[in-house]
């Protein structure tokens, strides 16, 4: 008998099995906040600043590259509500988008994995998403499959089943205070995570990122953001495409998240996230994520590019 036979393994003890099942069901029914649309903003922005400073446009963030560290500038708290309200006024002037059943967004993204020493940005990649415009339905995501665990087919196209439509964002309360109250309520229902202000800032960032907003909606989001405590302005920042802009930012637990806008037109350019204090994930300035929105459009079909 040359081959070892399968040794008997007793089943998982019943009580434990129940506990594992319960935990799993809790996890999968946990109300994820727009799970498919989150970029998991972690460490991308600082990379760009360095690249730009060096005058290089190639990809310096190879998979095993050194952590990207950007200078941490002082944020300016007083100017933030002023800037956001200015942006709200400017937004009211932009022309509305055309007709089409899907919202298409192409962006350039790089994020770092956390939890294994100093954060290093992964390679930058392009991400394209098709979001149903009016009705809940299937969306589509195209992005390189970066993870190593390859299970059967490697999807570079993933259907996003039963996705909330872009219209859901458009239909948010038009009153900034009401909108903030709604975001606070959602945070309280989750009952965990960042502070109420931090959660509201993150939620608005998620709404701005992969969506196509009519000007009044953008204006409401900016006005609501202006009311969030701790919001600051950071100047001279760079998005994942190397474009310079002005950032609306907020810092929580040693990490600053920035939304980057064109300084003159206030067009949303992208975002980045980096540490502002020395932590286990790296020293202050370590970039956790960076992104740039390259194209926003309306298209007639899922999978079709503008």
């Amino acid at each position: 008998m040359s081959e070892p036979t399968a040794p008997q393994v007793p089943a998982i003890p019943t009580a434990r099995r129940q506990a594992l099942r319960q935990h799993l069901m809790n996890e999968v029914t946990r109300p994820a906040r727009r799970p498919q649309r989150m970029l998991v903003l972690a460490p991308a922005a600082a990379v760009l600043a360095v690249v730009v400073a060096a005058g290089v446009i190639a990809q310096p963030w190879a998979p095993r590259s050194a952590p990207l560290i950007v200078p941490v500038h002082q944020g300016e708290h007083v100017g933030a509500p002023l800037l956001l309200n200015q942006m709200a006024v400017a937004a009211a002037d932009t022309p509305p988008p055309g007709e089409g059943e899907y919202v298409y967004i192409r962006s350039r993204v790089a994020v770092a994995e956390l939890g294994d020493g100093p954060a290093r940005l992964g390679p930058a990649y392009e991400r394209e998403i098709w979001i149903p415009r009016y009705e809940r339905g299937d969306g589509l995501l195209r992005q390189p499959f970066l993870e190593l665990p390859v299970i059967g087919v490697i999807p570079d196209r993933t259907t996003l089943p039963d996705m909330p439509p872009n219209a859901e964002v458009v239909d948010l309360p038009g009153d900034p205070d009401e909108l903030l109250a709604k975001l606070h309520r959602e945070r309280d229902e989750r009952g965990r995570g960042s502070s109420r202000d931090g959660a509201a800032f993150t939620a608005i960032g998620d709404l701005l990122r992969e969506s196509l907003l009519p000007p009044p909606t953008s204006a409401t989001l900016y006005r609501a953001a202006a009311r969030i405590a701790g919001v600051e302005v950071v100047r001279g920042v760079t998005d994942a495409a190397g474009r310079r802009g002005i950032a609306v930012a907020r810092t929580e637990q040693g990490r600053r998240d920035e939304w980057i806008f064109d300084e003159r037109t206030f067009e949303y350019l992208g975002e980045r996230s980096y540490l502002v204090a020395d932590t286990a994930d790296g020293p202050a300035g370590t970039v956790l994520a960076t992104a740039a929105v390259l194209r926003r459009a309306v298209v007639p079909e899922r999978g079709q590019r503008p």
Partner: protein
């Protein structure tokens, strides 16, 4: 039936996912114990495997038979890259209830210890295999997947499964003969082969 279950899981139906857990949790657990020999660790692998399955549910192929090969494939990846999987799901793992260390029945424990010895002995033999060969051996022989299912699970061609399995068997045979001759088994270093 399975086709419908696949569609429901792809569509994010949590009840369907609960059914999947009920049907296959023990198979995943056994596979993990065979692979690592540690029941506590194997429970984490079960959780991680199903969390991963949920995460990548959209990539599940709509047609096909049993979902066991799919899950065992994910479990194999989790076992191979446990740190990465744990990192990805660290929030969820933090919420995992602590294992009860006080057992309910004393004789159950005795049974478990006996089983644990048996598992340890069998695993020691498999340690002498290269990881990729051991994975195929576990899937095809102990978990009884056919070649096509194992190929699916591992994301490799059927021919590769065949050749790895045959290499595993040859090596096990050699080892058994050598053991009879009183030679010590020298385990192959993990990760020297891909």
């Amino acid at each position: 039936m399975t086709a419908q279950l696949r569609l429901r899981i792809r569509a994010g139906d949590t009840d369907a996912f609960g059914e999947l857990f009920d049907t296959h949790a023990d198979a995943v657990y056994r596979h993990a114990v065979w692979s690592e020999g540690d029941p506590a660790l194997a429970e984490d692998v079960v959780s991680l495997t199903f969390l991963e399955a949920w995460r990548i549910r959209a990539s599940l192929h709509p047609d096909g038979d049993s979902l066991r090969p799919w899950l065992l494939g994910i479990a194999t990846n989790v076992l191979r890259n446990r740190r990465r999987a744990a990192r990805r799901h660290r929030e969820a793992l933090r919420r995992l209830p602590v294992r009860d260390t006080v057992p309910d029945f004393a004789d159950e424990v005795v049974g478990r210890m006996h089983d644990a010895d048996q598992v340890a002995a069998a695993i020691a033999a498999l340690r002498a295999l290269r990881r990729a060969d051991r994975e195929v051996f576990l899937l095809c022989v102990w978990s009884q997947l056919d070649y096509a299912a194992a190929a699916d699970a591992l994301g490799v061609p059927v021919g590769t499964v065949r050749s790895r399995l045959s290499r595993a068997r040859t090596r096990l045979r050699e080892l058994a003969e050598r053991e009879l001759a009183g030679t010590r088994i020298v385990p192959v270093e993990q990760g020297d082969y891909r």
